[in-house]
Every structure is written in structure tokens, then in C-alpha cells.
């Protein structure tokens, strides 16, 4: 297991550098926005690019970037969107609202989703199962921004229970802030609940019909005991990676939900950085998500071994 982990980590670092280098070069290869002939700012733009070293060979620019990164963890300054500000500071400044809203959302949606899935599986082919399954299909088929507009219209505009948009300020854990987050949290939740419900129901239904469950019951375990001790543990091999995925998704944000509820998060940061050709900001966010994605893959793989001891990562047997 240790060897496997080390091996994967090395691969991960290699892949990370390849992706980073590719992104570093590709963003710089994008053509500059076309200026009309005779635009008076053309000279200034060219001067600025020269001063920033963008006319040097890409490999030299990459080396300078790596030097700054490894000597004092300097990701550079934003050149376009947040001029003169360290891109790392910008990213960290925008991360909290995204993380908090998503965290609140999954903290209550995952238990509910799994509980509904278990309920449907245990009550398979009854009206309970049909109701949950039908509702799940409906909910999962509708994109989250539709819920967002509905939640905003019904709960914020008509009933006036919550503010229409996120409260301003950085008091992330105040009651007023939490209250203003609820519409966004609700909007994000429906899809997650439905997703976990469906996965749990499908997995649990399959496990419950397995022969080892019959064996467990014939050994004298009650239905509850057999379900909790054996069935649930088995179906979690599939569910847990999904939970990890949700937690990783926290960091990515939701472009549309953040847009609807005016959440100043990271949802559109990478896209904006590409559009405005803010090289340092783009590289910083790309590296972050690349690292998170690769690390998550590793963690999920390793987690299989802990959830189900029959799975041995890296074993040749």
C-alpha cells in the first residue's frame, strides 16, 4: 500500500507538471485581442508585454515562474483583473464564500440523500419507493439554476423569508450571512440529494439481494443488523467516492448559482482569467484545481482499501 501510494504520488507530480506546462504555454499562445487599426493604446500594450517578459521564449518564462514558485511560493501578480495584487491572495480571498455555501449544502444533503436512498431500497416496490424514485428522477432532470430562480422567486421575492442575494461583507459565520446563504444552499441541494438517493437506492437494492445477505439472515441477524453491518458497508464502496467528489466540488464553486445569488466566489475565476488573458491568475487557479483533482483521485483510490478490506491497492494478486 505504501509503495503504491508513493508510486501514485510520483505519477501525480509528473502529471501535475505536464498539465501546468501545457496550460502555461497554451494561455500565452492565445492571440491578443484584436485592436482596431491605429488604436492609440497599441504601443503601450506592446511596451507592457515587453516589460513583463512575455516576449521571452516560453521555456524561459516557465523557468522564471518555477523559480518564483519554489524560492518563495510566489505565484505572481495579477496583470489584468486585479492589477498588482498577488494572485494567491485573490484566490484565497474568493474561496471562502464558495466553500462555505457548498459545505453547508452538502452537510445536510448527503445524509438526507443517503437516508432517502436507504428508505427507498428497504421499501422497494412499494409506494414509498415509487414516490422517492419518481421525485428523484424529476429533480435530477432539472438543472440547478432552475431551482435557483424558483427558490429566489418564491422564498425571497414572494414570501420575503430571505434576501434576494448574498449579504455583502465578510462576516461569513454571522446569522445574517447564513440567512442570506440559505437560498443558494437550497438551490444547490436538490440535485445532490437526488443524486445520492438514486445511487444509494441502486447499490443497496443490489446488495440486499446478494447471497451473503441471505447468509447473514440465516445466521440469525435481524434485518436491521444485516443491513447496517453488511449491506450498507458494501454499498458505501460506491457512495464514498461520490462524497469525496462532492467535497472536492466545494472548491470549484458553481458558476451559475454564484451568478444568480451574487456570491463573490471562485466559480467564474478561471473563465474570467482566460478571457482577460490574466496569465498568472489563470495558472494559479489551474494549478490549484489540477492538484486538487489529482490528489482527490489518489485519496479516493486509497479509501477503497479502508472501506472494503477485500480491495488491495497495488497488489499483484
Amino acid at each position: 500500500m505504501l509503495k503504491y501510494t508513493l508510486q501514485r504520488t510520483l505519477y501525480m507530480i509528473l502529471v501535475f507538471f505536464i498539465i501546468t506546462f501545457m496550460c502555461f504555454v497554451l494561455i500565452r499562445m492565445l492571440p491578443l485581442p484584436t485592436l482596431p487599426p491605429g488604436d492609440i493604446h497599441y504601443d503601450v500594450i506592446m511596451m507592457r508585454r515587453e516589460a513583463l517578459g512575455y516576449n521571452k521564449p516560453y521555456i524561459e518564462q516557465f523557468a522564471i515562474f518555477l523559480r518564483g514558485l519554489f524560492t518563495h511560493f510566489d505565484w505572481g501578480l495579477s496583470e489584468k483583473l486585479y492589477t498588482g495584487q498577488p494572485v494567491l491572495d485573490v484566490f484565497l480571498m474568493k474561496l471562502p464564500p464558495t466553500m462555505i455555501v457548498n459545505l453547508y449544502s452538502i452537510l445536510w444533503t448527503i445524509p438526507i440523500g443517503i437516508a432517502l436512498g436507504i428508505c427507498a431500497a428497504l421499501k422497494k416496490n412499494t409506494w414509498v419507493d415509487y414516490s422517492i424514485s419518481t421525485l428523484t428522477m424529476v429533480v435530477i432532470s432539472v438543472p440547478s439554476f432552475v431551482y435557483a430562480f424558483l427558490v429566489q422567486y418564491i422564498f425571497c421575492f414572494r414570501l420575503r423569508w430571505f434576501p434576494l442575494i448574498l449579504k455583502g461583507g465578510t462576516d461569513w459565520f454571522s446569522f445574517e450571512m447564513f440567512k442570506s446563504m440559505i437560498p443558494a444552499i437550497l438551490s444547490l441541494s436538490f440535485g445532490v440529494i437526488a443524486g445520492f438517493c438514486r445511487t444509494t437506492r441502486a447499490e443497496l437494492t443490489e446488495v440486499l439481494t446478494s447471497e451473503f445477505m441471505l447468509l447473514a439472515r440465516t445466521k440469525g441477524l435481524t434485518r436491521t443488523q444485516a443491513t447496517v453491518r453488511h449491506a450498507l458497508r458494501n454499498c458505501f464502496v460506491v457512495i464514498v467516492p461520490g462524497i469525496f467528489g462532492e467535497f472536492i466540488g466545494i472548491l470549484g464553486g458553481s458558476l451559475i448559482i454564484e451568478s444568480i445569488f451574487s456570491i463573490p466566489g471562485v466559480g467564474s475565476l478561471t473563465l474570467d482569467a482566460i478571457n482577460s488573458q490574466d496569465y498568472n491568475l489563470f495558472i494559479m487557479s489551474t494549478c490549484f484545481y489540477t492538484a486538487i483533482g489529482l490528489a482527490a483521485g489518489l485519496v479516493v483510490d486509497i479509501s477503497y482499501g479502508f472501506i472494503d478490506p477485500r480491495i488491495r491497492m497495488g497488489s499483484k494478486k
Binding site: P31, T34, L35, P36, P37, G38, I40, H41, Y42, D43, V44, I45, M46, M47, R48, E50, A51, L52, G53, N55, I64, R67, G68, D74, G76, L77, S78, K80, L81, Y82, T83, G84, Q85, V90, M93, K94, F149, Q152, Y153, C156, F157, R158, R160, L164, I165, L166, G168, G169, T170, S259, I260, F261, S262, P264
Partner: protein, 843 residues
């Protein structure tokens, strides 16, 4: 100039309550006349109606995006100027005329006047004085308009307490021109005739750059005739062809045959490698494809080297005469309205030196950065408001800047209400709250709950709110046109492509002028507007209704007889049948189905004779189907879909009974993304609707988009240099190219018939210029490439908390000042009551 207007408008709209001012302290003329119908009201002869001192009035607005940088020296987006616009002020300001500020010959509230703001008085022309001290700054034969002395008020402060003097301006000028920083806005300081003398040399110190021939209004031939050689002529290879030399240079000599790889061309394909010499020989030189097109003067020029380490005081015409007197020296003569608009008015925005210094930083590569005005702490104000909070991508708030002189100014920052005759202070808004709200649905709900000051109506809102008493129209300055391709080369190439069956399909006909003529009268503009957006208005000329030809007196080009006659001539309106030109113009609809059918018949016959289409069975019907590609940038765009639907259904109806019945179709193109303009230019696609603008106060220059080949979208098939036009000017018949007429009316000396002409503002009377302008407009319309279609106006709902003082729209100050019906506390109570009773505010 357009950016200048945006900035000026931003400054004017720093509060919703933008209002007039007062007569000047000394009663001097402001440049727009003050001895008009009502006569100036003496300061002190009126009582100011004060707003309650303890009340707050908050303006709440929404933006799609708050920029992360609003440094006035480096900003690139208009959003940034909105943010810093509340924090700055100008030397002079434009205000609408009222009883306190009468304008000669104009009724109150129909035009504007210029008043001092941070300046203590109007500027003084000191050209002769400066010329004597710095003969190299001003041409020897110039006597006025080049150097101006501006007296400053002595009560100017930043909100940090930093006192503003003439030296503060000089320091700010040094910062913006600092070559280490490469400030984006430095170009605004040195560009054009209103640029500051020596500013470019200071900014580009130690560098060599290419000066296009356009800058000196010269050409390659003139340059060579002056004794220069080809070795001194360079091409901007980056700007023209998108390539750079091996050592990163963006220009190369026309004799340089070093081959450079063009990354945009696949290796092995023609022109995968090009040299500057190749570009010269094949495109930009006298025998090149673009000879005389304007590209040969925009991308070709000579090199200029700037001295290293110059002393600012020695070369830049911008200095402090004393603590409260600033001197600006321009590269060209400036006077009248343009002295204040784009001249001394706004080319420089002050920065607080102490804060600015603390914001300068250098990274390890040696590059300089500046984070001035990137957060509340680095945003000192010398305007009406101070920034009180800033949260990136979320919210920015402002409150009264008590150190701003205007809050206590009883002379310049007051106006007389036309309705009640009382005198009020210009600024009533005490707080400003700007939030990022991207979604229209969210904005609408915010507005209906009283949380936004205005809401821009969408098409779907018009049925409910279009006729609300709180709805206000905002016309656009430009007239959008239906552009049709005339690029026969591109259309022919399309037919030559694999899979194009010329027996059943045709696109060449689309490029025929006769076909364009038929299209011109095939669409009911009013119906188009009704169908596509209720705020749109039909448009019939290239220049929209808001272009002002006489900014001194706010006179609109479209109101002139010349402009009206041009429309009547183009639309074949017999003016003798109408009592007045106005009635004749009002009769224009641009829609004539009978004429359209006849014109389609003509187009059919021309196309048949040219072999573009066939009529094998001689039934008088076209054998081919003509499918026109309407350019869309992205798929699924509802606005575009609606336009295409309208155009297609109308053209199908019109061609019934003609040889093209059932044979013409308009469809959406494949998404073109950012290449949309290119697809039109190259003939890859056939049509689109777009409005092109220009400076609102310079309709003569705005014609450049049609007459200047370097700007013209139709340059690939229309050459304004060879399209001749004859006009009788002061009894003399003059024939010259459309381009030369355009250049001449913009003040360039041109030659025709062995004589030189210039019809700039300093060279002839305004009627002559209008005659030329209207003739050029008519001539361009007769190309039938751009068919005037509509004015993309808009309509907003204004909150019940505020009201507009004026009913008449003016492009400079909208509907004049806004005042408040309720204080913030009253407004909150009112909203709660209304929402409890009706669910939302009622508009």
C-alpha cells in the same frame, strides 16, 4: 474621443442628481454664452432650498461586474471609470442650462453650458507667452489655442487631507507618463492634437517606435519625395500581419527580406513564411493589393527614436506656474467646446502622491506593478464621494466626501428647478451602493422591492411596464444598419467550394447592388422594431439622431435641412408634395413593397445576364435557391433568432410574384464567435445588423467608419478613394473622391484639380461642412451595403424614490438632475407598506 465622452458622462453622472450650476463668479463668458434670454442670476440673489441635514439619500445600482482595478492611469474597461468616477472631479463641468445658466438663443433645459469645477475660473490663452519661453513647443506661426493657463481653487483636498495644488497635477502627470509603469492611459495624454507637448517623448524615452504616415497626414510617396529612402520606411508587421521578428520587434524595414514564420498559416501552405519586403511588394507598396486603401498609411511609417533620460520639465508642456495656476501646452490649437471636452477637461486624473508611492511595487523580474485604486485603502477621493467599502466582485459603497468643495459651494453647484423655481444643490445623493447582480430576473425583483434605483426594461417587461409613468426612454446615438456583403470574390469562392451545387444554389446574386437595392425597401422598419424590441426606433440615416454638429449650442445634425434633404433624396421623397422638409422626412418609412418587387425583378435580370443564376425553362423564375447567412456569434441567441425570423418571413413575402419567389431564404450562420466581423468582410457570411458609432459631438469624424478604408468594413469591395463625388461649394464645382471629401471636412488639406482644399471647422462655415457631410452620407447610403434600419434605444424604470427634473432627453445629461421624493428612512417605510399591501412596489 468616445472614451472621453464615456468618462465625461461618468463624471457628470456621479450622482443621479446632476444639475446646473451658476454664473461664473466674475461673469465672464463660459464659451457657450451666458447673456441669453433670462440673463444671469447674481450669486446671493437667490435662496437655496436646503435638503434636510440629517437625512440620507442612497442611490442603489447594479453592475454585472465590478473591476478589480480602477486605477485612473491604467484602467481598460468602462466599468472601471464608473467606479473611480465618483472619486474624481474635473477642471470644468458641463451642466444643463437653467435660469441660473442661460445660454444665448436657447430655451432653458434644452441645452448645456460649461462651468468651472476644480478650476477657479475659465482658462486663459497664454500661447504667445509660452512660445516665447519654449519656442520648440509651439509652431512659430501659431498665436493662440496652444497653451492655456488654468487657475485652480484654493480649497481642493483629497479625502486623506492632502492639499491639491498645481504641483499635485504635475506630479500626477509624471506618474501617468512614468515609462517604468507603462500605464495604459498614458496614450490618452499624448495622442492627437489635444495631446500634451512632449508627453510621448517622455513616456517612450530611450525607445524607438514606428510612426505611421497617418500620424503626419503623409504618404509613402510624400516621404520619399521629401528625400528619404526605402531603408527608412518600416511596416508594422505585428499590427498588419500578426508576426514579429526573431528578436521580438513589431516592425521591419520594407527592404528586409528575412522570412518570418506566420503561425496562423499551416506549414506548407501559401504565405506560411513572409518577409516585410514580401508584405510591401504584395500588399502595402505602390503596386500592392492595399495601395491607397488606408492600410498603406496606417501600418507603414518611419522610425522615431526618443532620447533617454529626458528631464520632465524640459520637454513636457505641463507645469505649475504658481501654487494655484497650472499651464497645459497642446500639440495643436484647441479652443471653444473642445478645449473643455477632451482637452484640459479630462486627459489627466489626479492621484494622491503619498498613497500612489506606497502602491508601487516591483517583482523579481524587474517589472513594475501598481495597485493604486484596487481597494478602499488605496482609493483616495477628491470627488463628491469617498469609498467606504469594497468587496471584490460583490459590492462597493460610497458616502459624502466632506472635504469636497462642491458640498459647500453656493455658486457653482446649485441649479434652479424649472418646475418650482427654487434653487437646489446639485448633489442630493449622500450615499451610493453598487452591487454585482448579474441576472436580470434578480435585478427586476430587487427593483420591485425598492432595492435598486433603476431597472433596464427587457422586451418581456414592456407589456407591463412600457407605459409606466416611471419609464424613461434612452435613445442610442447610433443608427444600426442591415449590412449586406458585396464581396464578390468571397461569394465566388463559396460557390467554388466542394458540395456547392451551382445548378440549385447561388450566393453571388447576394453581392449585387441591384439585389441590395431591393432589400433596402423590403422591410418595414417600424414592424421590425415592434417585433424585436419595443424600445427600438426606426432609423433612416447612417448617423443617428443624437449626433451633435454644433456642441457649443447643442444642435443636432439630423435636425438640419441638409440632413433631412439627404434622407429625402435617398428615399426618393418628392419634397414638393409636403408643406415642409420635416413633414417630408416624417413620411419616410423605408418600406415600399411594390418598388421592392420591381427591384427584385431588376436584380434577377442582372444576375441572369451575369450568369450567376439560370432560368433553364424560361419561366421567368430563378432556378437556384439563394440562402443568405445572417451572422450570429453564438447559437441559441434569442435576439438574433427573432431578427432572422422577421427578416426571413418578410423577404419571403416580398419576393412573391417575382422571379425569386420561394427562392430566397435568410438563415442563421454557424456561430462565428469573435470572427463575426471577419466573416462579413471576407464574404463568408452575408449579413448582420449592427450600429457603428463615433464621437457624439463630431459627426464629421464619425463618417470615418464608412469613408476611411482603414476602418471601413466594406473596404474589400468598396473603395472610397476611387468613388468620385461632385459638389458645388461657394459657387465652385469641386470633384474629388469620397475619402478626400471626408478628409477635407475633417480639416485635412487635400488636392483636387490641382487645387488644395480643407473644410475643417477653422476653414469654412458650418453650413458648408453640413452640406458636405450630408452629401457624403447620401453617397455612402447609395452604395447600399449598409441599409439604415433602427435605433437601438432602451427604456428604464426609475425608482419612486427619485424623479427627473427635466422631461427632455439630452445626450450629455440625460433628463437633467434627479431629486428624491423620500429620504432613505421614509423610503424603507414606504416600501414595507407597499409590499405588505401589494406584494411589491407598483410601477
Amino acid at each position: 474621443m468616445k472614451r472621453t465622452l464615456a468618462l465625461l458622462l461618468a463624471l457628470l453622472m456621479i450622482v443621479p442628481a446632476v444639475a446646473g450650476c451658476t454664473p461664473k463668479k466674475n461673469g465672464d463668458d463660459t464659451g457657450t454664452g451666458t447673456s441669453g434670454n433670462a440673463g444671469p442670476v447674481e450669486p446671493g440673489s437667490y435662496q437655496i432650498t436646503e435638503f434636510p441635514a440629517d437625512a440620507t439619500y442612497t442611490a442603489r445600482s447594479a453592475m454585472s461586474k465590478i473591476p478589480g482595478n480602477w486605477n485612473p492611469h491604467d484602467y481598460e474597461s468602462d466599468d472601471a471609470s464608473t467606479i473611480f468616477g465618483y472619486l474624481v472631479d474635473g477642471f470644468y463641468s458641463i451642466t444643463y442650462n437653467d435660469a441660473l445658466h442661460p445660454v444665448e438663443g436657447r430655451d432653458p433645459f434644452t441645452t448645456y453650458t460649461i462651468i468651472p469645477a476644480m478650476a477657479a475660473d475659465m482658462p486663459t490663452d497664454i500661447t504667445e507667452e509660452v512660445k516665447a519661453a519654449h519656442p520648440d513647443w509651439i509652431p512659430a506661426d501659431a498665436t493662440e489655442g496652444y497653451a492655456w493657463s488654468i487657475p485652480l481653487r484654493d480649497d481642493l483636498y483629497f479625502d486623506t487631507g492632502y492639499k491639491i495644488t498645481a504641483e499635485t497635477y504635475v506630479q500626477s502627470m509624471k506618474y501617468i507618463l512614468d515609462p517604468r509603469l507603462g500605464n495604459y492611459r498614458a496614450a490618452d495624454i499624448y495622442n492627437g492634437s489635444q495631446g500634451i507637448v512632449g508627453a510621448e517623448a517622455y513616456f517612450k524615452q530611450g525607445q524607438t517606435s514606428l510612426v505611421p504616415f497617418d500620424n503626419d497626414s503623409t504618404t509613402y510617396a510624400d516621404f520619399i519625395a521629401a528625400g528619404h529612402t526605402d531603408d527608412e520606411v518600416y511596416i508594422d508587421i505585428d499590427g498588419f500581419w500578426g508576426i514579429q521578428t526573431a528578436d521580438g520587434k513589431t516592425f521591419a524595414c520594407i527592404t528586409d527580406d528575412t522570412m518570418i514564420r506566420d503561425p496562423a498559416i499551416e506549414e506548407g501552405q501559401p504565405e506560411d513564411y513572409v518577409s516585410a519586403k514580401y508584405l510591401w511588394d504584395n500588399y502595402l507598396g505602390p503596386n500592392g493589393a492595399y495601395a491607397g486603401s488606408g492600410y498603406d498609411t496606417a501600418y507603414v511609417g518611419y522610425l522615431k527614436s526618443y532620447a533617454a533620460d529626458p528631464k520632465f520639465e524640459d520637454i513636457v508642456g505641463f507645469y505649475a506656474k504658481d501654487e494655484h495656476t497650472l499651464v497645459q501646452v497642446f500639440k495643436g490649437g484647441v479652443s471653444g467646446f473642445f478645449l473643455y471636452y477632451g482637452g484640459i477637461q479630462d486627459s489627466l486624473i489626479l492621484v494622491e502622491p503619498d498613497v500612489y508611492e506606497s502602491c508601487l511595487k516591483q517583482d523579481e523580474t524587474g517589472a513594475w506593478y501598481n495597485d493604486y485604486m484596487t481597494n478602499k485603502e488605496t482609493s483616495p477621493s477628491y470627488g463628491a464621494y469617498s469609498m467606504t467599502s469594497y468587496q471584490a466582485d460583490k459590492q462597493v459603497t460610497y458616502a459624502k466626501n466632506e472635504k469636497w468643495y462642491g458640498w459647500h459651494d453656493d455658486v457653482n453647484h446649485v441649479y434652479m428647478d424649472p418646475n418650482d423655481g427654487n434653487v437646489y444643490r446639485t448633489n442630493q445623493t449622500t450615499n451610493i451602493d453598487i452591487q454585482v447582480i448579474k441576472e436580470t430576473a434578480t435585478r427586476r425583483q430587487q427593483f420591485l422591492m425598492g432595492q435598486l434605483t433603476t431597472f433596464n426594461l427587457e422586451e418581456t417587461d414592456f407589456e407591463q411596464y412600457g407605459h409606466s409613468e416611471y419609464a424613461w426612454s434612452y435613445p442610442s446615438e447610433t443608427c444600426a444598419g442591415l449590412w449586406l456583403t458585396g464581396n464578390m470574390e468571397g461569394l465566388t469562392a463559396r460557390e467554388a467550394a466542394d458540395g456547392f451545387d451551382t445548378a440549385t444554389m447561388d450566393v453571388q446574386t447576394i453581392g449585387l447592388k441591384s439585389f441590395h437595392k431591393a432589400m433596402a425597401v423590403s422591410f418595414d422598419r417600424q414592424a421590425f422594431c415592434d417585433e424585436c424590441h419595443p424600445a427600438y426606433l426606426p432609423g433612416f440615416g447612417l448617423l443617428g439622431d443624437q449626433f451633435i454638429y454644433d456642441p457649443e449650442n447643442c444642435l443636432f445634425y439630423r435636425d438640419t435641412d441638409q440632413a433631412k434633404q439627404a434622407l429625402c433624396d435617398f428615399y426618393s421623397v418628392d419634397t414638393s408634395k409636403f408643406a415642409s422638409l420635416d413633414e417630408a422626412v416624417d413620411s419616410i418609412t423605408g418600406y415600399d413593397p411594390d418598388a421592392a418587387k420591381q427591384l427584385f425583378q431588376d436584380a434577377f435580370e442582372e444576375s441572369l445576364s451575369l450568369g450567376y443564376i439560370t432560368d433553364a425553362d424560361n419561366d421567368g423564375k430563378c432556378d437556384q435557391k439563394i440562402t443568405m447567412q445572417f451572422i450570429v456569434q453564438t447559437s441559441g441567441d434569442d435576439v438574433m433568432a427573432r431578427r432572422v425570423k422577421f427578416l426571413n418571413s418578410n423577404v419571403q413575402e416580398i419576393v412573391k410574384g417575382t422571379p425569386f419567389e420561394g427562392k430566397v431564404e435568410i438563415v442563421e450562420s454557424a456561430p462565428t464567435a469573435d470572427r463575426w466581423l471577419d466573416t462579413y468582410r471576407t464574404g463568408e457570411c452575408d449579413m448582420f445588423i449592427v450600429g457603428v458609432g463615433g464621437s457624439l459631438v463630431n459627426p464629421y469624424n464619425a463618417m470615418g467608419i464608412y469613408c476611411d478604408p482603414s476602418q471601413n468594413l466594406t473596404a474589400a469591395w468598396y473603395d472610397p478613394n476611387s468613388d468620385m463625388m461632385t459638389l458645388t461649394i461657394n459657387g465652385e464645382e469641386i470633384t474629388m473622391s469620397v475619402y478626400n471629401w471626408y478628409a477635407a471636412m475633417n480639416g485635412t488639406m487635400v488636392t483636387a484639380g490641382g487645387k488644395s482644399y480643407s473644410f475643417g471647422s477653422a476653414d469654412c462655415d458650418v453650413d458648408t461642412r453640413l452640406t458636405i457631410l450630408a452629401a457624403v452620407e447620401g453617397k455612402i447610403m447609395q452604395c447600399y451595403d449598409m441599409l439604415p434600419f433602427c435605433n437601438f434605444g432602451s427604456k428604464i424604470l426609475l425608482t419612486q424614490q427619485q424623479f427627473n427634473v427635466c422631461d427632455e432627453y439630452n445626450p450629455f445629461f440625460d433628463y437633467g438632475p434627479r431629486r428624491y421624493n423620500y429620504t432613505d428612512a421614509e423610503w424603507e417605510a414606504y416600501c414595507q407598506e407597499q409590499i405588505a399591501a401589494h406584494g411589491s412596489l407598483q410601477y
